[in-house]
């Protein structure tokens, strides 16, 4: 809202003072200048009259001619008129100081007297019309001198008056200028003040608007915050509910799948064990073994699916401890000795360190077992070579499994660690596997703070590497992209 500036009492007082002082000063100054002007004009006129008087005297003296005398009389009339006008002008000066001045009166009285005397002497000359009238001229010259002297006296008086008026004008003019300048400053100051007030008023109006807007925004923000808080709480609740349902579903699935598997495996064991007095043919025994084997495969698949699910839900648990990698790898290799011998695989261990690390043995075992089983599946029959190695690399220990299998084409290596990926479906049929082994390996290794990768060329075997930190590290929460 814009407010207009109002006139204050102070401003009214200032205006009154200004006009009370300024108006008489202006009148006084105008009068003074007018007076000075009249005096100045009178001085000029008087100088002209004096010149004319002297000219008449000169002409009369040089010619002594009655005709010239007649002209002199005409000129004298002009002089007289001039004086009358001059006197009238000077008397018209306001406040009458000059007209009432005794010197002024004396001077004019003297001028009038001298004029009369002058005129009389001229008249006398004219009447006699005698150029040789010496007395007449003698009187004439004397009158001229007296007349000129009177004029000079008047001129002196006027000069004195002019100086007095000028002396009066200057201080009054200075006071007037001071008053005017002060008024100007005051006006400028007042206008500036009005403008400032106007700006302040404008700013206050804007401030008010902004405050209203701010209040509105704050209200909206609070509303939104409350809404979003409620939404987040609701979503969290829903998320918890979904998680709980997932858990329950997984438990139920696990239970419902594993319970019948247990029955199948238990009966298969009972049937195949000759100690129970079963007399089965070789074909029957073979069939039961197939049932048992497939049941075990199904059990492994269920286990892998659950493990992959745990990785996806970031619920892997670790039991870390200090142990020597060399003894760990020796124990691990022992478990595979029989199968390696059976398949005539050249299995070598290269452990270049006896470092003690802080890690989860069971999980490391799980990863290595997956990789080794894959290697066993893919090495050529009767000529297989597998090398299991460990080496230090900075803060990590690197495990690797090198085989002389069929190798993996470079363009397919990235997909190896994706869920249910098989390089070739025919491979799956030939070698088995459910496409989850390496996914689980990746999840475990990354959750332990390491990384896993493969180096391979089609037809030239593969080497799988993975690292684990040597010492205590915070177990990472990995968002596994399975």
């Amino acid at each position: 809202m814009r407010s207009h500036p109002s006139i204050t009492r102070k401003q009214i007082l200032f205006c009154t003072i200004f006009f009370s002082l300024g108006t008489p000063l202006v009148i006084v100054l105008i009068n003074a200048y007018h007076t000075e002007d009249i005096i100045h004009n009178s001085q000029t006129q008087l100088i002209n009259v004096r010149s004319l008087t002297e000219d008449i005297a000169f002409r009369s003296l040089s010619t002594k001619d009655s005709k010239q005398i007649s002209q002199v009389i005409v000129d004298l009339e002009i002089i007289k008129n001039n004086f009358n006008q001059m006197e009238e002008n000077l008397r018209s000066i306001p406040n009458g100081n000059i007209a009432q001045n005794s010197k002024f009166q004396d001077t004019f009285t003297s001028i009038h007297n001298q004029y009369i005397s002058y005129k009389t002497s001229i008249d006398l000359i004219e009447k006699n019309n005698d150029p040789d009238n010496t007395n007449g001229f003698s009187t004439f010259y004397s009158s001229v001198n007296s007349f000129v002297n009177s004029q000079n006296n008047l001129l002196d008086f006027l000069e004195t008056m002019e100086i007095e008026i000028q002396n009066f004008i200057y201080p009054v003019a200075i006071v007037f200028v001071v008053v005017v300048v002060s008024a100007c400053f005051y006006v400028i100051f007042t206008v500036a003040k009005w403008r400032t007030r106007s700006e302040i008023s404008k700013l206050e109006s804007q401030k008010l608007k902004l405050e209203k807007t701010r209040t509105l925004i704050e209200t909206k923000y609070e509303e939104l915050f409350r809404e979003s808080e409620g939404l987040v709480k609701k979503q969290l609740e829903e998320h918890k509910q979904v998680e709980k349902q997932k858990d329950e579903f997984m438990s139920m699935i696990t239970h419902e799948l594993k319970t019948p598997l247990f029955s199948i495996e238990a009966y298969s064991e009972l049937l195949s064990d000759s100690a129970f007095g079963n007399k089965l043919s070789d074909d029957q025994k073979e069939s039961i073994e197939e049932i048992y084997k497939n049941s075990k495969n199904l059990e492994r698949l269920i286990g892998d699916v659950l493990e992959a699910q745990k990785i996806e839900m970031q619920r892997l648990t670790f039991k870390k401890e200090y142990f020597h990698v060399s003894s760990f790898i020796t124990d691990f290799a022992k478990c595979f000795k029989t199968i390696m011998d059976e398949k005539n695989i050249d299995f070598t261990i290269l452990c270049k360190t006896d470092l003690m690390i802080y890690s989860d043995k069971e999980r490391l075992n799980q990863v290595l077992r997956n990789i080794i089983i894959n290697a066993i599946d893919f090495v050529p029959k009767g000529k297989g070579k597998i090398e299991l190695g460990i080496k230090e690399q900075g803060d990590n220990v690197v495990f690797y499994v090198k085989d002389n299998g069929i190798g993996i084409p470079e363009e397919k290596q990235d997909n190896l660690f994706k869920k249910f990926y098989q390089i070739d479906t025919s491979i799956k049929r030939k070698h088995g596997g459910n496409g989850l082994g390496l996914v689980i390996c990746k999840g475990i290794v990354e959750a332990m703070g390491g990384k896993i990768w493969v180096e391979s060329q089609s037809g030239n075997g593969s080497t799988f590497y993975f690292t684990v930190p040597k010492t205590k590290t915070q177990i990472k929460v990995i968002e596994s992209k399975l």
Binding site: D247, M250, S251, T254, H255, E256, L257, K258, T259, P260, L261, F262, S263, I264, E265, A266, Y267, E269, L270, A275, F276, S295, E299, L306, T317
Partner: protein, 123 residues
């Protein structure tokens, strides 16, 4: 050895009882948690093989009821469950006499070995 087998799945109890009897143990089979509890309170067993997820009266309730009055001082319980290990909510593992938790499916030889490890002769 006197063994009580509590599981609602008859297929499993049949297979296990056959196996255990063949191995020379005295095996009582109950396919209901409540009946199992009654049996357990009326008779003394060296080892109880107990399933957890049973309808009406679960293995957990069985344990809670059995340990309430301090009746299970000398009996040993082997839990035989298909539930994931992490989801088993049994707090009084030490006091309640639970000696092992085996997860189905488990080999019969493993069950036998565990029974031998945990059992003590009944009075």
């Amino acid at each position: 050895m006197k063994i009580l087998l509590v599981d609602d799945n008859k297929s499993i109890t049949n297979a296990l009882s056959k196996f255990l009897k063949f191995k020379g143990h005295e095996c009582t089979v109950v396919n209901d948690g409540m009946m199992g509890l009654s049996m357990c309170l009326s008779e003394s067993f060296d080892v109880i093989l107990l399933d957890l997820a049973m309808p009406e009266f679960s293995g957990k309730e069985f344990i809670d009821e059995l340990t309430k009055d301090g009746k299970i001082k000398k009996q040993r319980i082997i839990i035989l469950t298909a539930m994931p290990i992490g989801t088993i909510d049994i707090e009084k593992k030490g006091k309640s006499g639970i000696c092992q938790v085996l997860q189905k499916p488990v080999g019969l030889d493993v069950i036998l070995k565990t029974i031998q490890e945990v059992s003590i002769p009944a009075e």
